[in-house]
Structures are given as C-alpha cells and as structure tokens.
Amino acid sequence: MTLGKWLEVLVNNGVVLRRIMYVFLAGLVIADLLIPSSYDRFPWESWGGFGAAYGFLGCLLLIGIAKALGHWLVYRSEDYYDD
C-alpha cells in the first residue's frame, strides 16, 4: 500500500483517532495532576493542568484577537494595492 493510501485510511478513521486523542489528552492532565511539579519559579508551575487550560484559552484568545483585528482594521480586498 502506498503512503497516500495509508494516510487515506487514517483520515477515513478520523473518529477513532479523535477518541484516542481524547484519552491521551485526559491522561496528560491526570498525569500532570498526579506527578508533583519539579519547578517552582512561578506559582503556576505547581498547578496541575495549567498547561492545558493556558493552551486552550490562549488559542481562543489569539484567534479572537486575530479575527477582530482582521475584521475591524486590516482586511482589504486582494486588489487593494493594484489601482
């Protein structure tokens, strides 16, 4: 089977992959809650699952900022500089 076919099989089983990913994500947070932190430079380094929360909220924040910036300020039509 060629590489392209392999990828196609993976894509077609997206639902299974997604479930595996959910389990992995949950495992990550559980591990972070259980394993005592090895760093204490910042208070949040000892909060279990902070990375997950920061990643998720950071994603929403960045997409929000980008969308707002584009929509209200910087988006122009593609021929803006042509005339």
């Binding site: 590489l3 990550l28 972070d32 394993i35 760093y39 920061y54 994603c59 997409i63 988006y75």
Partner: protein
C-alpha cells in the same frame, strides 16, 4: 591561521563558475561547491586572519570564534540543502545570486570589524533581491524594488551609525557596542531592519512570498539570522530588545493567522520566531544567549523545511492560497509528512528540534523570574502550533478536496526536505550535538517530565480550541494591511496630492504671468503696432505745416 582561505571567497568564485557551466556539469558543481564550503567551515580553526589597515582603521576580514561558527555551520548546511532543492531549476541568474548571497552571509558572520561587516551586509541585499526578481512577474518586480529600497535605507542608517561609532571610539572592531557610543542607536536600528523587528519588518512579509520557490529557502534562512548574529555580538543584554522581541513574537503570530498565502503565513512566523531570539538577546544571560543561538540554528532548518514544503506545493500546483488548495495529502503524501515535521519543530513539539532550543529561551526567562516574558512566549507557541501544524495542513493538505491532482514533488526537492527533516528530528532526540556547538557550555536539559508535560498540554489543548472554532479559522481571500501600507498606499497618495498641488500652483502662476504678458503685448501693439498711434505714417503736408508753425513761433520769440 594566516594561510586560511575565506569560505566566502570560495563561494564567490564558485558562483562565477556556475555562470559558465550548463546542464549536468552545472548541477554537479551546484552540489560540490556547497559541500566543499561545508567541509571548509567545519575544518576552520578558531582564530583570526586577514588583518589590514585601511585609512587608519584596523580591519579583520576573518574572525572564527565559537559564536561565528554556530551561524557559519548552519549557513553552510542550509546552502547545501537549498542548492539541492534548486537543482532542477534552469536559471543561472538565480543560482549565482543564491550562492553569492550565502557567501555574503558567511562574510558577515566572520567579519571582525564593522566595515567588513557593512560591505558584506550590502552585498547580501544586492544579491538576494535577484531571488525575488527571478520570479519574473510584475508583482515580484515591484516587491523586489520595495525590498531593495528598505534595505538601502537600513544600510544608510547602519553606515551612519558605524561612522559615528568610529569617530567616538576610534575603532571599528565589532564587539559588544557600549550603550554610550554615539552610534549605538543607529547601528541597532540598522541591525533591527534586517532582523525584521516591527515596525521595520514589512519588507519581509511583502517580498518573501513573491520570491521564487527555491530562492525563498535562502531568503528565509540568511538575512534575519545574520541580523540575529550581529545583535548577539553587538547588543547582548540590551533591555529594550526584550520588549521589541515580545511584540515581534506576538505580532508575527497574530498576523500569520490572517494570511491566506501559505508562504506569507510562514513569513509572519519568521518574524514571530525571530522575536523569541530578540527577546533572548535582550535577556542577555548565558542561558538566554545559548538558547538564542541554538534557536537560530534549529529555526533555519525547520523554517527552510516549511518553506520547501510550501514551495513544493506551489511548484506542483501553481497555487499559493489556502482558499484555493485542499486535499493534497493523497497526491503529495511525502511532502505532507515532511512539512509536518517542520511544523512540529517550529511549534517546539517534544522530540523535534524546536523543543530543545525554544524551551531554553523560556527557561532563561524562568531563571530570571520574568513571568510576563515567560507567559507571552508560551502564548506565542500556541499560535505557532495553530497556524503551522493545524491551519496549513488542514486547509491545504487535508480538508476539502480542491480538485487539484498534482504529482509528488521532484526527487531533489524531496531529498532536500528529507535532509532538513532528518536534522530536525536528530537534533530533537540528540540535542547534545547542537549544544556542543554553542558559544558557552550548555547546562540545560529540555527533557524533564515537567517540560514535556507542560508542552504537550499547551499544544494539544490549543488543538482542541482550534477544532472547536474550525468554522471560523479558514483562510479568507483577503490581504491584511501592515506597516508597508505607509509606503505602498499613503506615501504614493501624499506624493500624488503634492504633485497635484504643485501642478495647480504652477499653472495658476503661469496663468497670472500670461495675463500680464498679454496685457503688455496688447498695449505695445496698440502704441507701436502697425495701427499704433506712434507707428502711424504722417502725411508730409502736416509736417511742413508744423515746421512753419515752429518757425513762426521762433520768429515771434526772437522779436519779443
């Protein structure tokens, strides 16, 4: 080390030979030359050579120390990879430009004084612009001219700074520049133009996406990273760079999200990643500078890999916009997988090169107790992952079928990407090799449980957010205004209105002058013209009469 040949000389000479060769011979030489340069750089002993005195200035053409070797090594590696990637291109101008450009970049990192540095700095500009122009369409011609003008201005500022610095200090030696030197800020600005620090960054995202597919690899690797080298050398610990670096990292990652052209998206990520390095230089500790140098090293490899992946797509489909791509993974699976390795590396995913270098800069911030720096840089990692690992792959390679049925990229492109991908993974798994090249001994372990858990949570949960918002994150057929708006829109408009104003004033002045002249001429014609009173021909009779009157008058006066 007086009998050492400068690697740049070999590249310049080699570039001239490329111009003379054609066909298979040229291709063989295109590979032999960078391979030779790589071997030469590896074998350079530490020390210096080429000292000379020019008008009372002590020049040092070749200074080899651990810092210059970090950059020279990766420049030589990427020149070889870039040449392999461009092997199928039948355009001698591009090959000559790329090799000269690489030689000039090596010249900058080996320059021991500011004059030598400046000469190579300018040569980089004038050789690299051909990699944009060689796309040979009106858009890239115009972008190339803008690129040239901005760099020419940056070069003038740099030269001004160097002159002031020399007059003040009495030396052109290139080491850390004292903050009380007269040329401090001008030299800093000159370097910051090439590092693409906002608001002086727009040349990069304007021009790189318009460059040739193969030329963009050299562009993405060399200009900003020579600037990072000069900043590490000249301005370590300059506090204002922390602020600039953070703005840069965030700016790039947010603008990248707005881009539709895949290479423009990646170009904004150059700005963002160089932002990490600029921040690291500002932090200035040994850990931060090692982190910056190693991040520059890994960045060149993964960024070139990303540009090669995007370039392969453009080469095979002729399209660059996410809104016009999709479903390519079936037809270009190798390109897709290699691109993904670059994407994971730039996002600092564990087991890839970015993880062992980027986290070192964050660690330096943590050791310095800089909470805001640390949090913002972590936030930027989230954005990087979103754009390069999720957005481009989803909308260009996976996602909706665009109907495109391209073939896989040519073997030389795939091999070049494969080498870069191998190095990304190798460095990610065995960071010891990279760390052994660093200017100072590295006392850092990226693979602690804490680091890995943090990074995986950060990135993968960002992915959850992305798929939740999938409906809203696709590319839009729009362009985003950036600071180049000032000279692409505002300045021409101002110039045009100024021209109109001068034009109308001029014509009004001419009109006024004309009316006066017309009046003068009409008056003259009235008096002196053929019908004018003074030009009239008087009859002889009236003359005789007037003479008689005058004679009579004089006779009368005489007798009285």
């Amino acid at each position: 080390m007086t009998d050492v040949l400068h690697p740049s000389l070999l590249l310049f000479f080699g570039a001239a030979v490329v111009a003379l060769l054609r066909g298979r011979l040229q291709q063989a030489w295109m590979l032999l030359l960078p391979a030779g340069v790589l071997a030469m750089v590896f074998s350079l002993p530490l020390g210096s050579a080429g000292a000379m005195n020019l008008f009372g200035m002590e020049l040092l053409i070749l200074r080899v120390d651990t810092l210059s070797m970090v950059f020279a090594t990766v420049f030589a590696i990427i020149t070889l990879i870039g040449a392999l990637y461009a092997l199928h291109v039948r355009d001698t101008t591009q090959h000559v430009a790329a090799l000269t450009y690489a030689g000039a970049a090596l010249g900058v990192v080996f320059a021991g004084d500011l004059i030598t540095l400046y000469v190579f700095w300018e040569l980089m500009v004038f050789s690299s612009v051909w990699l944009i122009w060689c796309r040979r369409n009106p858009v890239s011609m115009a972008a190339g001219f803008r690129y040239l003008i901005i760099h020419a201005l940056g070069g003038v500022v740099l030269l001004g700074g160097i002159i002031l610095h020399f007059l003040d200090v009495g030396s052109v030696a290139f080491d850390a520049i004292a903050s009380d030197s007269a040329g401090y800020y001008l030299i800093l600005i000159g370097f910051m133009v090439n590092a693409a620090v906002p608001p002086l960054h727009a040349w990069l995202t304007d021009a790189y996406p318009e460059a040739t597919v193969t030329g963009a690899i050299f562009l993405s690797a060399l200009t900003t990273k020579t600037a990072i080298y000069t900043l590490i050398r000249g301005f370590p610990g300059a506090e204002l760079l922390v602020g600039f670096g953070l703005v840069m990292a965030l700016y790039g990652v947010i603008y990248a999200f707005l881009a539709n052209d895949i290479r423009r998206l990646l170009a904004y990520h150059i700005i963002s990643q160089v932002g990490y390095m600029v921040t690291g230089i500002g932090l200035g500790t040994i850990m931060a500078l090692n982190g910056t140098a190693s991040h520059a090293f890994t960045h060149i490899l993964y960024k070139a890999l990303l540009f090669m992946g995007a370039g392969a797509v453009i080469h095979m489909t002729g399209r660059a916009k996410m809104t016009e791509l999709g479903g390519l993974y079936r037809y270009m699976p190798i390109t897709f997988l290699l691109y993904m390795i670059g994407g994971l590396s730039i996002s600092a995913f564990p087991l890839t090169s970015g993880f062992v270098s980027k986290t070192m800069i964050l660690e330096a911030a943590a050791l310095d107790q800089r909470a805001i720096v640390w949090l913002l840089l972590a936030l930027v990692s989230v954005g990087t992952f979103l754009s390069t690992v999720l957005k481009i792959p989803w909308f260009a390679f996976l996602g909706q079928d665009s109907g495109l049925r391209p073939k896989e990229a040519p073997w030389n492109m795939l091999l070049a990407m494969g080498i870069a991908a191998f190095l990304c993974i190798y460095i990610g798994i065995f960071p010891g090799w990279l760390y052994s090249l660093m200017p100072a001994p590295v006392d850092y372990n990226a693979y602690t449980v804490g680091h890995v858990l943090w990074e995986l949570q950060l990135l993968l949960f960002a992915g959850v957010g992305f798929f939740l918002l999938l409906k809203y994150v696709g590319g839009k057929p729009k362009i985003s205004l950036d600071t180049d708006w000032l000279y692409r829109w505002l300045l021409p408009k101002v110039a045009l209105s100024a021209e109109r104003l001068v034009d109308s004033l001029w014509s009004r002045m001419l009109g006024g002058l004309m009316r006066r002249l017309t009046w003068l001429v009409t008056t003259l014609i009235q008096h002196h013209g053929p019908q004018g009173i003074l030009a009239r021909t008087w009859p002889t009779g009236s003359m005789v009469l007037w003479v008689a009157v005058m004679l009579a008058a004089s006779l009368l006066v005489y007798y009285l």
